[in-house]
Symmetry: D3
Subunit: 260 residues, 6 copies
């Protein structure tokens, strides 16, 4: 098997820093993957990517050693199987709110007897290992997202599901679902984060969360181990805004959120 830094760090309980890809571009993917992140995640949910771009993007990511990761659009068996067969070594699954939904994630991403994933690892077997079908269950990471108040309420049931070795918090959706809007550092929200991190520690589950450069060390400090620090499009836009300001001889305006 090729190196899988995200899984190695999970096994060692070390911190992982990741990058997000929101654009369906194998070139953005190659540039980002070379930077040295522990994992590089193609976002099929909110990113502008669908399956037709996944194969060339994974080919580009596989030129580096970062863990090839995909966030699927939804907890749906067809797409989970397809991204695994194409070479994803970690799969983030949105909106897992109950134990039953977490069990579906495991069922759909792991082979018998751990789950019921259909066999046909067309690209990943020659890429990773001739014995991939026998060993995949020990290498692939299926990562449910915790991003609603309902999921927080069900956190122990979700973390107890056999096969859930990591989770990933969607802070924007969590804050919105708590009625706090996008001002997501209100005390109840922060308490929810701390609660999630504490329960992960108790269950021996590796806790991940979406972040940015301003907030990543706060998140690590709260016990999160896997934090996404930047995306391809936000990185591009922020640097271009700064570069234009330099060119104009002006101070940098607040670069704004931009949504990327």
């Amino acid at each position: 098997m090729r190196p899988n830094p995200l899984r190695d760090r999970l096994l060692n309980n070390e911190r992982s820093v990741g990058c997000w890809l929101s654009s369906p571009s194998s070139i953005n993917a190659e540039v980002a993957a070379r930077v040295g992140f522990d994992y590089t995640c193609i976002d099929m949910q909110h990113g502008l990517v669908d399956y037709s771009s996944i194969v060339p993007m994974l080919q580009a990511i596989n030129l580096s050693t970062t863990t090839a990761t995909v966030r699927v659009p939804w907890n749906e068996p067809g797409i989970i199987g397809k991204v695994l067969d194409a070479g994803a070594m970690a799969v983030i699954v949105p909106m897992v709110n109950t134990q039953a939904e977490a069990e579906q994630v495991i069922e759909r991403g792991y082979y018998h007897p751990k789950g019921g994933r259909s066999s046909g690892p067309i690209r990943v077997q020659p890429l990773e290992d001739p014995d991939y079908p026998e060993i995949a269950n020990d290498h692939v990471l299926m990562i449910p997202m915790i991003e609603t108040i309902e999921a927080v309420e069900n956190i122990d049931e979700i973390l107890s599901v056999d096969g859930v070795d990591a989770i990933y918090v969607g802070p924007m959706d969590l804050s919105v679902s708590m009625g706090l809007g996008r001002a997501k550092e209100d005390p109840p929200f922060v308490e929810a984060l701390d609660h999630i991190a504490a329960r992960c520690a108790a269950h021996g589950v590796y806790p991940g969360i979406h972040g940015n450069p301003d907030i990543i060390h706060d998140r690590f400090g709260r016990g999160f181990k896997m934090v996404t620090v930047q995306s391809d499009l936000a990185a591009m836009r922020l640097n271009l805004v700064e570069s234009l300001a330099i060119g104009r001889g002006e101070g940098v305006d607040d670069a704004g959120g931009g949504g990327y």
Copy 2:
């Protein structure tokens, strides 16, 4: 927010005329969007389009002021979120036959507290408004399709769902589901149309329907407010058939349906 003619006309109870895009082409989309329709709808259900074409098509449509509309392939949360994040301001959802299915449409297309749409408006926020997450619920139109006899029987329950401000009738499927085949102007079918329009008027819901140039004024006359008059491929084919007949010095054959 950019102009949204379909929503403005809905608010004013004025008639809207729309165009259908069945081809995955950002060039067809740019040409059609320039013509001046109130809405231009990319058809992901029966059209030959999937998500990989949606972003360039929406970019092309956004060069004009027509309301960027998408018909998704099915009432499925992943794709509804993706087309909204990419910039659709109206989403038509096929085969909504029950109140529960209509509630799903609202749940999947609107943010908390109106629904549970996941937050990540990657393209639409910079395009439309920095405050898009806060105001989207007041601008996006989620439009269930009424296209089976079951839906007609459940029409009051569907129209009563909070958030259903418009519906869209699929006349072909409705006629077929009534056992009338494609000869869809039989009295029971027309009575069903009249019933739908009347119940929409009673509920204050804006009624839409698929049409063509021969039938659009009949539909307006029956109380429908939003009628699609033509598609990119049918328009092209019809004019080419006429042009060839002129070139041959012949009368125009019956251009036929062609299915486009």
Copy 3:
């Protein structure tokens, strides 16, 4: 209607030999379709193909007379409708384990009154027949896959569903679900194959199965009628391995599985 060799052979209970397309290439598809297989199946489940490649691939396949076939990624109504509208004349649906799931396959692939397929045959109607909507139910083949021990246990219920005229066995998944791993010629597995073939004969259903050149005549001998013998990528790789060995002046190594 164009020729449909797979259906003709089914009606005559003759053997069919098919080809699998795992790559999203209209050029691979044109080359393979010219070879003369009875059916050529685009694999959207384990192949590296999604809908954005389906239309050009079907255009390429339609240059020959082989039956244009698609395996969809999952038993999901949106994609079943889309591949039929685009021109598939046979659709293979994975992981059909119960009578209810088999009924869904029929419901989603056939028009009223046989099922509830939505009407909008945008490409297939002009391609195949102006009366396609009226006659499609008599020409399209909806083929559930039997690929788990659960499905074998439910085989009579599945084969009894009205509209199930053929099934297709996924031997790898079947063997894995039986706890036999990939060594799939163990007696219990072979007994399961024989049982499936026998029940198909009893129900008058045409039994298909995935195969390869080494095993195809064993499968025919056991009563299977429709066997896929090779895929585009496996064919390419096997010949290239042999060609390189010739170029090196070496014997051919075991070409290995490769997963294609």
Copy 4:
């Protein structure tokens, strides 16, 4: 060899009516090719098409019997070879102003000994005939464009080149190069057209010209034999403009040129 209506009509000195494809869409191409034109020409010069779209467009065109024709962007050997290898049976070459340039067209499009086309008919040989390399020179049409005053002055030298069996007039460029702007029906322009048609008749060369439905019979009347009557994008736009006007209950505005 497959039917080649343009060449058959040339040999019989019958009139041909053609269609232009300006959009890089295999779907537009399939729709247009089904209409029944004698030739369907993909425009790589002013159309929005490059080579990456040529193969799927030719696959789509080959589903009908219209002559697959390509206008290349320029008189350049690489692209002429590529479109022929991909399946073009007629190639229109812009801006041929001198006898030497006409000789280049022949050199680049025909095999030895007529020219020096490089051998490698990768798609067209299996499509058309196993003996394509031996017989292609008798089937392919290489068609220089006459579209400057310089070309008109050199018309006899150009028409005398062995292998020039047809030419194609670009009326817009010709009018502009004569200093007449786009008002291209001025007497000197019409005289130039008549002169070209007369010289073609004298040399036994089949004269083609770009047109539209209003002007096609004027062109036929002046002796032109091959007239393009409409394009995919102009057809679509014209019908959509009319359809919107009907929907609005208005007369059709002048649809305008639009440039398509």
Copy 5:
């Protein structure tokens, strides 16, 4: 005509700051174009872009008001015409070393009588102005590149060509052609830059040059008026390198050149 900030600034002899696009992505293009640069240039020479990406990228750029600019791969008439027809309002042409080559640039990019550009502005006419064919010569900028010692020696002849209103220096190639390698701030190189800027001032030609944030004010100080400050891929990579270093809690390594 839409706004054309680059041309307005040229007419007012004001400084322009530009952005470079090296990736064939309409999404990168939309993000970059929103930032507010005076011009945004798609690089078809050293960027990873060819014509098949130009149309969607121009559609994306046209959503903002930045001048849509293209650097073509070479001084070749086919591609110059194609990018202009698709909507480029400025075209940068590499490796113009002599007066004759500068005259070709003008001939290929302007209509009669200024040049011989072929007429067929398929996308740009509806986008920009119905009278585009008559007024394009007053709006389009054709910009030869000065990037060899030979071009510097011929600078007065090149700047004297009627229609050359701006030039663009390629500093890397210039330095290399002077035998100075990539250490391009050696005195002879800087003297060459100063000479070019001085001769532009003397001829009333707007001088442009490739740059970066560190060097842009040096270039403005030397009299250059149009400086490209950053590219999509370099911007993305630089910010990702910084973001990863923050995530690791390390200082930023030298981000290195990377070649983007």
Copy 6:
């Protein structure tokens, strides 16, 4: 620098065995590149590939160690620069018939002072080496094709050009240009091959030639060192023809040439 087996074998005067890619598919490319050929050549001349597919195909090839090679469509500076910048380590240039044309190949492919290649190695520099601009001339192979009787007559002048370290014979075109048609093993043709190989040996140039499994050892025996043994599409088709014959229980028909 990454491994470059073709150059290593050239330096050691060892035999190389190569693969040809005729299809614009990054998946075919990944499968073929894994097989273990010394070089894998994307054919932009007669293959169905243009630049838009080159970047993902090179990304796929770079997952293996085979030398990434491209045959450009023609001896044109724009495309030679583009494929080198994208990562080609060897470039085969068709139809080099004279010393002047061979000098152009060197001028276009090597940096100053060996040639005049424009600097901008956007993908290949980060992929291969930060010092790529300084060392590329020692690693890239520019390989002119010898494929006409004129080139054979000029063979000593071509082989004498500084920088020509390898050539590649196009046997089909050579045979045709000698008036021998496709029956290319006639004595004069074979004598021409022997003459080319002998002159290469005399000049210390590595001689390559197109081949197939039947003929590769004849070519090696005549002194050729670099022989292409198979292509992606021919490999696929040949194995599929055999597989179908097995499935039918028939002997293998003559698989025919097919032109791939």
